[in-house]
Amino acid sequence: MSGYLSIRNLTVRLKGGATILRDVSLNVGAGQVHGLVGESGAGKSMIGKAVLGTLPRALEVVSGQIVLDGTDLQTLPPKERRRRIGASAALIPQDPLTALNPSKRIGPQITRRLVDILGWPKVAAEARALELLEEVHIPDPVRVMRSYPHELSGGMRQRILIASAFAAEPKLIIADEPTTALDVTVQKQILRLISEMQARHDTALLFVTHDLGVVSKVCDTLSVLYAGKVVEEANMHRFFMRPIHPYSAALLAATPTYTNPTGSLTPVPQAVIDGVEREVAEHDMRAAP
């Protein structure tokens, strides 16, 4: 099975150090929403960054393929790769407060991609930006276009970032914990908005989160990541009915419910930790000359 975005056996390592992602494979079908869940430090965000080519400089892709629309990005020269990613993928970032340039007005920040990559004339790009701002339910878009980021609230800024991500009609959007920095009431609106936009624009969406509740609302399929490794890939229905991997089961059991709101904390099963440690050891054996 191969989708619009297909990651095959991706291994990412800290230069001369620990392995961050180990043999990660996952597929996001065209127009599908794929959830990527895991605890903090599991490497969720790094997958998104590897795809978009914004990995921190200390990290390197050791092996594996990132296939976007049938082309392995790793084989392209850097310039071509950047152009390709810019034209077909976009990011909805985690923290709307740092994701807009504070010294530029909103308008040019939305139209930038249209003008720079797709070569739209400025007037057309601005009309499109206004349309998008209306689409994400921003009141008085004309004024917002002329505002600076600090003049707008966090929720507004996240809407703008969503609008901006969809601006160039990318075929893939990576949403990196898009609701984590927002408060709960706004979270729900933003989630609904992302779903709505994804459906309308028929975009593939890789949804990175640690919140299984969120995943159950928006995703079609999901991957569970633990310690840099995909431990389970499943469609939503099957996953919630019958998780296969012990870690997935533990993760699911740890979700607070109405009947058991606080619950007792479930430790990660010892078998999972042993398994990962064994694999790390094997991997290091193979990596050693």
């Binding site: 080519g53 152009r83 810019g86 530029k104 720079d116 990559i117």
Partner: protein, 283 residues
């Protein structure tokens, strides 16, 4: 939904008025020195030596701030001295800023080996005692306006490089920089369009501060007799000369000192005031 931060009108503070006013006055004085100076700043008249300023007994009419031990008019010399001080402040300040900020920006944004080279240079540079370094440089280059400007640039670029590097690093870690890169910007383009505008308020504040420092460095060099030749009046030179006769004629020392003090203070206050006004986050 739109909150009130954007609506706040910020008045131009007293600080900006006072410092800007003093510097404007100084620029005017420097430009019009030949017109407004009551005397030739170089003309000596030993009969008129050490005349006190106008409010004291024995003051000579027309010599408002008194005369020095060679009978030269203190006010005229301060006015002409402003020319040199301002040239040094503007030229040396801007050049220092250009060199230091560029290197700092590159080091902070590109990191990796450019950063390692630039940062090591900064460390090595900062280990030299600055004034000694300047004196050494002037001794090699020979006295003159160019040498002073070069000396100031060579000594002070590290100040910019360090601060701007740190700023560029913070800005470089922001998500909007990553977004710009995903949107297909080159690294160099990202540096110019995303990082530079956001470190600009800091650059402006540092630049005005540096102008003040340039004036001081010039004064220090004049004080140790390594500045421009003796036939162009400088504040530092006046202070050095005034020191020898401070018990008989304090005004020769005090007036240029006050001018120097106010000028340097104004430069730094102007910078702070401008930063407050133009920083988009504080705005």
């Amino acid at each position: 939904m739109r909150d009130a931060r954007g609506e706040v009108k910020r008045p131009i503070g007293l600080r900006l008025w006072l410092s800007g006013g003093w510097l404007a006055l100084l620029v005017l004085a420097a430009l019009c020195a030949p017109l407004i100076a009551p005397h030739d700043p170089l003309m000596q008249d030993l009969f008129l030596g050490r005349m006190p300023p106008f409010w004291m007994d024995g003051a000579e009419p027309g010599f408002w701030l008194g005369t020095d031990s060679l009978g030269r008019d203190v006010l005229s010399r301060i006015l002409y001295g402003a020319r040199l001080a301002l040239i040094v402040a503007l030229v040396a300040g801007s050049l220092t800023c250009l060199v230091g900020a560029t290197l700092g920006l590159i080091a902070g944004y590109y990191r990796g080996w450019p950063d390692r080279i630039i940062s090591r240079f900064v460390d090595i540079w900062m280990a030299f005692p600055p004034v000694l370094f300047a004196i050494l440089l002037i001794a090699v280059l020979g006295p003159g306006l160019m040498s002073i400007i070069i000396a100031i640039v060579v000594i002070d670029w590290t100040r910019f490089a360090r601060v701007i590097r740190a700023e560029a690093m913070t800005q470089g870690a922001m998500d909007y920089v990553a977004s710009a890169q995903v949107a297909g910007r080159t690294r160099f383009g990202t540096m110019l369009t995303e990082i530079l505008p956001n470190v600009l308020p800091t650059i402006v504040a540092l630049l005005t501060l540096e102008m003040g420092i340039a004036v001081i460095v010039e004064a220090i060099l004049s004080f140790v007799n390594l500045s421009i030749s003796t036939d162009s009046p400088t504040w530092g030179g006046m202070i050095a000369e005034g020191r020898t006769s401070v018990h008989q004629a304090w005004w020769v020392l005090v007036f240029p000192l006050i001018t120097l003090f106010l000028t340097v203070l104004s430069f730094s206050q102007l910078g702070e005031g401008l930063k407050d006004r133009f920083d988009p986050v504080l705005r």
